[in-house]
Each structure stands twice: as C-alpha cells, then as structure tokens.
Amino acid sequence: MENKGHNNDPVPVIHLRPAKGWLGINFKELWRYRELIFFLTWRDIKVRYKQAVLGITWAVLQPILTVLILTVIFGVLLRTPSQGLPYPLFALSALLPWQLFATALQRSSISLVGNANLITKIYFPRLAIPLSTVFAALVDFAVSLIVLFVVMIYYQHYPGINTLWLPLIILLALLTALAVGLWLSALNVQYRDVQHMVPFIIQVWMYASPIVYPIETIPEGTWRLLYGLNPMVGVIQGFRWALLGTAQPDLTMLISIGVVVVLLVSGLYYFRRMEKTFADIV
C-alpha cells in the first residue's frame, strides 16, 4: 500500500483487496501522515480550550485542585505516610504522570467513535487518531509540569542527575495509555459499552496505583511483584525516583515494562485486525 502525500513522487500503485489477518504496522505510511497526526493533535488541544475563559490554565488548575483535596484527606486527616516527602509534593509527583495516563486513555478510547465522520469518508492510517489524542494529552502534561517545578522549589527539592530518566518514564506512561487506548478504542467501535466503562476503569486503576499512598504499603515479595502488573506502578515509582530521589525502581519496574510491551503489541494487533471494518460498523 503506497500513498504518497506530495506531488513529485512517482505515481503510487494502490491495491484493493479483502482484509486479511495480521498486516503489520505500516510505519512508513504512518510517517507520511505525520502532518495529519500533528493537525489532529493541534485540533484536539485547540478545541478543548476554545470558549473557556481560562483556556490552557485549566491544565495547571486541575492538578492543583486535585492535590489540595488529596492533601486534606490523605495527608492531613488520614496521615498517610509519604516516603518522607511533604504530602503535596508526594501526591503531585504521582498525579502528573497519572493524569497524563488517564487523560490519554479516556480520550483515546472514545477517539475512533468521536471521529466516525472522518473514518467513514476518508482513508488514512486509523492509528493516527488514537495517537493524536495521546499526543494532545502530552501537551497538557507539559504545562502542568510547571506546577510541579514550582512546588519543588517551594519545598526546596531540587532535581538531580536522575531527572535525565524522566523522558523515558514519560514515554512509558504514554505507551501504557496508548496500549490500553488501542484496545478500548477498537472495542468501542463495535461495543459502545466500553465508553461507559472507561470512567470506572480509570477510577479503580487510580486507587490500584501508588498515588495517594506510597508503594511501600504493598508488602515486598510476591505481592509487590504482582502489584507491578499494573504498569502505572512502574511509571509512578520511576517518576518519583527520577525527580525526588525516592527508592530506586526494582524488579517491579521491569514487570511493568513487560506488561506494557505485551499490551502494546496485542493492542496493535487487535487494532490492525479491526481497522478494516471500522468504516463499516462505527
């Protein structure tokens, strides 16, 4: 399948045939459509904050307000241990990667259905749609990082050399969201039940991740390793470590990475398999 985007290329030959099984991801094609991915991302961001008086400020306000609530309930009232960190900093350092994940997951899972008008009329690699929603979440995340840095300066916690790991950990969070998002968005095309389940999934997932409580709450050994099956455990553990110097990631992190890889590969497979029918059943 060749379909080049500009005019000086040799004339491509396109083959039309019935969809069959595993076709592989056409990365070359995806790359050619990078501008489309860019514009879809840009549209998502633009539209989200249009007609909102505070605009992109919401990306800053949301984590601040959430951390305030968490601090009052878990920090002040319940006195949850926080790995020796001030509770607001402790909570915020997990909340940011979590919100990145949750936003990306929530948006990507409904993305195909939300763009049904495109899917039924125009050809482009369908992967562009969930990908662009995940990228759009990244922009919000980048803005909210400012809050975290302000809070770090306030508590005089300055990042060390491990901060260099941060991009990789953010990537892991994105891949996790993408992997789950691929599954859910493709399923949602046929079964709209998915979009009703997603808010619930996100809620449960949040409490299954070490956001309001430290990872040490889970006993070491088998339980901790099982806990690592939740990829966000690895992400949050890594994020806190890289920025705040908490305990170094251990085997749990590796398990998390392994789970993401499995979810991502199977998600891509399922997505590719269903891709050909999206236009017919969406």
């Binding site: 005019n7 396109i14 019935p18 249009k50 899917i119 039924t120 125009i122 029918t277 017919d280």
Partner: protein, 427 residues
Amino acid sequence: MSNPVIRVENISKQYRIGVKQTRPDTLRDLVNAGVQRAGRLFKQGAHGGDESRDYIWALRDISFEVEQGQVLGIVGRNGAGKSTLLKILSRVTDPTLGFGEIHGRVGSLLEVGTGFHPELSGRENIYLNGAILGMRREEIDRKFDEIVAFSEVGKFIDTPVKRFSSGMYLRLAFAVAAHLEPEILVVDEVLAVGDAEFQQKCLGKMSDVAQEGRTVLFVSHNMSAILRLTQETIVLDQGKLVMRAPTPQAVDHYLNMGLTKQGERYWDQAVHEEKAPAFIPVALRVLNPAGEVVDTVNAAEGFSIELEYQLTMDITGLRVGIYMMTTRGEFVFTSFDTDDPQYYEKYTIRTPGRYFSRCTIPPDLMNEGRYVLGVNASVYRIQRYFQDDKALTFTVDATGAPGMQWPEPRLGPVRPKLAWTIGEVEK
C-alpha cells in the same frame, strides 16, 4: 487501450445488517446475551459470524477499468451501491471479495467539509481539512490565498465556521477539496447543495480538472451534470453493474429502469393515501391509430394518449392532463383536457362516474426517441387530486418522418413537418 489507471475485478462487498434482537425476558437472559456478546467479541475478526441471513451484498462482482484522463460517470438509484463502490476505491473500506489496482493517489470528495470543526476558524479549518484530505502543509500554504479567493468568504476567514452561513461553510469546504491535486478524483454528490451560481462554479472547476488529464469518477443524481461532464457512464442497480456505455445511452437506460414498458400503466386500486379519494386513476395508455395499446408508436402516423379514471364525487373545474418529457427530464409539452374553452364550459362540473380523457398527437410532430408521460389531475389553484411524473414511457419510431432520406439523428424532441417554400429571389 494499454494502461488503465483503475482496474477492479469482481469487487464485492457484503454488509452485516442489524441482527434481529429479541428482547430479553429476564435478567438471566440479559446476562446470557451479554456473555454471548462478550464471547463473540473475541472470536469475531473481519469476517464476523456466519449466519448468511444477517448479510446483504451491497456490491456484487463489479469489474471495470478506467483509462487515464477519463471522466467516468456513475449513476444508480439510492442503495444501488454507488457510495460503497466509491468507498472501496478510496480505501475507506475493503472489498469482501475481489481485487483492484489503482495507479495514483485517490482524492475523494465524498461529502465536502469532512473534518471541519465548528469551533475552529476558517483559516484553521483549511489547514485541518487540507491535512485530512492528504495535502502537505507547504502545499496548503502555497494554495491558501487561492482557496480563500475561490471560497469567497474573504474577511470571515478568521471567524469560527460555526458562525458561517451554510453557503459560506459549503463554499469553503468545496474550495479546499477542489484544490487537491490527486491523479484520481472521486466526486460524490457535491453539486446537490449550494446556490445555482456556486454549482456552476463547481462544475467549471470539475471540467478544468478533467481537462488537466486527471481521471475523475463522478457520482450524481443530476443527469444534466453527468451529461455535461462525462463521456462514459456506468449504471449500477442493486449492487450490480448493469451497463457501461456512452453517457447519453447510459443515462437513458438509467432513467428507464423500473418504469413500465408495455404501453399501458395500471394503478393499483388498493393503494391510496386518502380514505376516499375524489379522483382515482385507473390506467394510462398509449394507442396507435388503430386503437391498440402499444409501446412503440410511429411518428408519421400519429398516436393518442388516454387516461382512464374514476370520480367519486362532484368536482368543479377539474382538468386532467399529461406532461410529455424526454427520458433526460426535458419537458416537451404540457396539455390539459379542458384547454379548449368549449370543453372548459361543457365540463365545468364532472359528476361521479368513470371517465376517460384522450388526446391525439398529430402525425409528423414527435422526433424519434423514448419519452416519459406524466399525469396530473387538479383544479387550478384549488387542489391537486393526483400527480405522477413518471407514469409511463414509450418509444416513438421515426420511420416515414420528414427528412428520413438522411439517416442522421435529428436533435430535439420534435420533428415537425413544416411547410417550406423554396424560391429564387428576384433580382
């Protein structure tokens, strides 16, 4: 013909139609159904289940080729498979069977304005829509001014399109799509909307595209647009390709499809919208001079047209008439049974009973060809009792008509025998 740009062979497309779902009686049924659904969810790939009654063939064994630079029309009724075919050609969906080969990028205008976002400004939408249609950013930059000029939205370009009038919205959308430069352009019904002037402009743009040597597939219900823009047309009916021919011939065929052809039309007496209609049509017939019902009449002999009907109550000022049209929809004439003032006086009130209204078409009036008869029964400005615009078609044969010593076809629906005088101008 060496190198087709589009070649499809035995393309078929099957759709799953809504499975009849019985309402669950109990919560347990509901849960069972849910479990089954969940089970299906994992088993089902592109091919789905296998109960054939849940499926319909939207396209069946479509094969054709299109040469470089050709403008091919595609006509068919709603549901004939036109849109499905275009979706397959533009890769929106895959065929269930068969294969095809396309040499070149396919740009589709399947409903313009795809991907337009109401919250975004005209400018932003040009970029977004351009990217969706496969244009590169630099390409859009380059053509931006041209697009804005074509769309005539001018100073509103930075206003959110949700504040545009529908005309502006449409012009902007078409302007973006019209500046695509694919080798193959697929156009579906874009001309159905917009004012006449803009439609004209769109048609102009499309013929430019065709003249640049690009291949165009043009789907429309607008026969005059099809006739103007295409040389060859394929006709789809119920998912099958029934004809491929030079456009005038294909259009005639399409317009005749499904119409009765025996020279007589009976109306089903059981089907009436009102409970007790005042006017009930019975039959419409085309008769030769001998009074026989025929499908083909001879222009040189003349023929008559007869409508039989029943009145169930007194009607004052009723007029029963026919429209004669060509199969392309051009009117030839309209005539009513009370056109003649004498009859108008005589039949001021028609009492209940069975009637016929018959008119005679004089010899040497009609040209050869196939014609459509429409029927109308009404009281002028008061009430329309009955109307059927495509009640019957029939053929006129020109044997013996004026000028038959030259075998060329004559243009126009009439071929009257006119009194000519030839003389020498005196010096």
